[in-house]
């Protein structure tokens, strides 16, 4: 198993290289130079000033030199400075990243806690009232835009009823709270964003869980288990569930990019100071160092998520564990 994990980590290296190339190319291959936009605001700028600015950002060098300069810097966690406030990009990202990871991890937990039982129950009682109700819920949950659900919940629970906060992750006077109060305050602020973040994948995953469970329940070994007189409980939870969960781990890994994508919109709606919102702000202010770093880090998050999913898969499936 250790061998497998090491091999899996080694496979990441070329992918990581590819990620840096694309992150760099997106910004540099597009028509125009990053400085053009800064200069366009001031048409009177001198030719020498333009040259100087390009030299500062290294834009006068050939593209491949610029790329290797950039790689060398990010190997030392130096993503340059933000164009807007001149702070190191890495500092701004380090500030924002934990919040995004927290929300996505909580969302992932919510997704698992709800989708697996829902999937099992609708597969076991196929065609029942429960199955039909959840199928409708799944299709709607899958199609409803998350930011719309967020707005509806905000206007109903937040504005109309006033029971949940609608913006930020802590109250204004957070600093003065006692520790227990702080935790409750944080949790109250997280309820809406986490529920909205999880709804789409929750719907999708319970559908997959249902399909996977149906597939497993029609296998021969399930008939054998029943034939030898095991209780239905044992057949479902011991024999079927463990096998049905395997493809779910893969799908969970594949749904990570979508979850991270989702934080862009949700953090903006709920005014949460996370990576997603940093990215949107950077796009508006054309803060290219942040955009490039944000893109790179978002891909790293996906890569890490996929790695965890793969390791979990090996852990869950003894066939792979022993083969490797």
């Amino acid at each position: 198993m250790i061998n497998y994990i090491i091999r899996r980590i080694l496979q990441i290296i070329p992918i990581l290289f590819g990620i840096t190339i694309i992150s760099f190319a997106v910004i540099h291959l597009a028509p125009g130079k990053p400085t053009d936009l800064m200069l366009r605001l001031n048409p009177k700028i001198e030719y020498e000033a333009r040259e100087k600015l390009e030299r500062i950002y290294g834009l006068d060098k050939p593209l491949y030199v610029q790329y290797f300069d950039w790689i060398r810097k990010i190997a030392h966690f130096d993503f340059g400075r933000s164009f807007t406030d001149n702070r190191p990009v890495i500092e701004k990202i380090a500030e924002r990243l934990p919040i995004t990871i927290l929300i996505n991890t909580l969302a992932m937990a919510v997704i698992l806690i709800f989708s697996i039982p829902i999937g099992i129950k609708s597969a076991v009682r196929r065609g029942s009232f429960f199955d039909r109700v959840t199928t409708v819920f799944v299709f709607i949950g899958f199609a409803a835009p998350s930011f719309w659900l967020a707005l509806l919940l905000m206007s109903f629970l937040g504005v109309r009823l006033g029971i949940l906060p609608v913006a930020g992750i802590v109250s204004l006077d957070f600093e003065n709270f006692a520790f227990s109060h702080k935790t409750i305050d944080l949790l109250r602020h997280l309820i809406l964003p986490v529920s909205v973040a999880s709804i789409g994948s929750l719907a999708g995953l319970s559908r997959y869980m249902r399909q996977s469970m149906l597939g497993t329940l029609s296998q021969d070994y399930i008939r054998t288990a029943r034939a030898k007189g095991l209780s239905e409980r044992k057949v479902i939870y011991k024999h079927a569930l463990r096998n049905a969960l395997l493809p779910i781990i893969t799908i969970l890994g594949l749904s990570i990019p979508a979850l991270i994508s989702g934080s862009v919109i949700l953090e903006t709606i709920f005014s949460i100071p996370g990576m997603g919102r940093l990215m949107v702000e950077a796009v508006f202010t054309r803060d290219y160092n942040i955009v490039m770093a944000g893109l790179f880090v978002s891909a790293l998050l996906t890569l890490a998520g996929n790695l965890i999913a793969d390791i979990a898969y090996v852990y869950a499936d003894p066939r792979i564990r022993y083969k490797a």
Binding site: W148, V280, T302
Partner: protein
């Protein structure tokens, strides 16, 4: 359900094509006197903060949503089929280069990639179509590649080659037409995804720019009147939901029809 999906899509296309005939209002005509009217006979879905008829803006928005959906996913399909069929047919080095490239592209959360490109080229309807297309071809490339890998070992391909058919002929006349099924299904789901992406981008203010109406940017304006004008929030979201639902249902139906293996 498939028929319901197909029916909804036809209705949407009809509404989008005949938008000017369906409503008497102008989607961008501001009338402050009529600002934030509740739904009434005069304005069936009410008016927005600037007094524009919401129903009118929504049906004009359906034009933009469908245009972006079809063109973006069409572009993705062309790129995906091109790369996927080359990778699958020639195999070897070409295959690994193309598919590793697709793997790397798949590592990027779509929204971050799209936003990064928008930061450079700026938001516009045309840019959004192209960007969504350029960032969503990977799934289709994988699908057509998998199909071609199994199709190219068939006897009729050997026969065709023995008769002197060129690689180009074999790929475009035999392999792609026979292996296009999964791509078609993915196309339908892709339109649903592109509609959602466009709505999300426009909601952030980085998609379709006002005064052009888009369901996403109407919702963005709705956020400003949260708690006052519920209709500005409710209806555009429903429109997105129904559109995405329709394409998803059609996609599921197609998948069942093209894949006889049933659980």
């Amino acid at each position: 359900m498939t028929l319901f999906g197909a029916g909804m899509i036809l209705l949407l296309v009809f509404v989008a094509v005949f938008a000017p005939q369906i409503t008497k209002y102008d989607p961008t005509c501001i009338d402050i006197q009529e600002a934030l009217c509740q739904p009434s006979l005069e304005h069936p879905l009410g008016t927005d903060l600037l007094g524009r008829d919401l129903f009118t803006r929504m049906i004009y928005a359906s034009r933009i949503a469908l245009l972006i959906g079809f063109v973006a996913v069409g572009l993705a399909a062309v790129i995906g089929v091109f790369f996927g069929s080359i990778a699958g047919y020639f195999g070897g080095k070409i295959d690994s280069v193309i598919m590793r490239f697709a793997d790397v592209m798949l590592c990027f959360p779509a929204f971050f990639l799209i936003l990064a490109v928008i930061a450079v080229v700026g938001p516009s309807i045309f840019n959004i179509m192209v960007i969504i297309g350029l960032t969503s071809w990977m799934g289709m490339a994988r699908l057509i590649r998998a199909e071609i890998l199994s199709l190219k070992t068939r006897d009729y391909i050997s026969a065709s080659r023995a008769l002197g058919a060129s690689n180009f002929f074999i790929i475009t006349r035999h392999l792609i037409p026979n292996g296009i099924g999964p791509v078609l299904i993915s196309f339908v789901f892709g339109v649903a995804g592109a509609v959602l992406t466009e709505a999300g981008l426009s909601f952030l203010g980085l998609g379709v720019q006002p005064p052009d109406p888009s369901w996403g940017n109407i919702l963005m304006e709705g956020k400003a009147v949260l708690g006052i004008g519920w209709w500005v929030i409710l209806f555009p979201g429903l429109a997105i939901l129904i559109t995405v639902l329709a394409f998803n249902l059609l996609g599921e139906g197609l998948r069942d029809a093209l894949n006889p293996r049933k659980l």
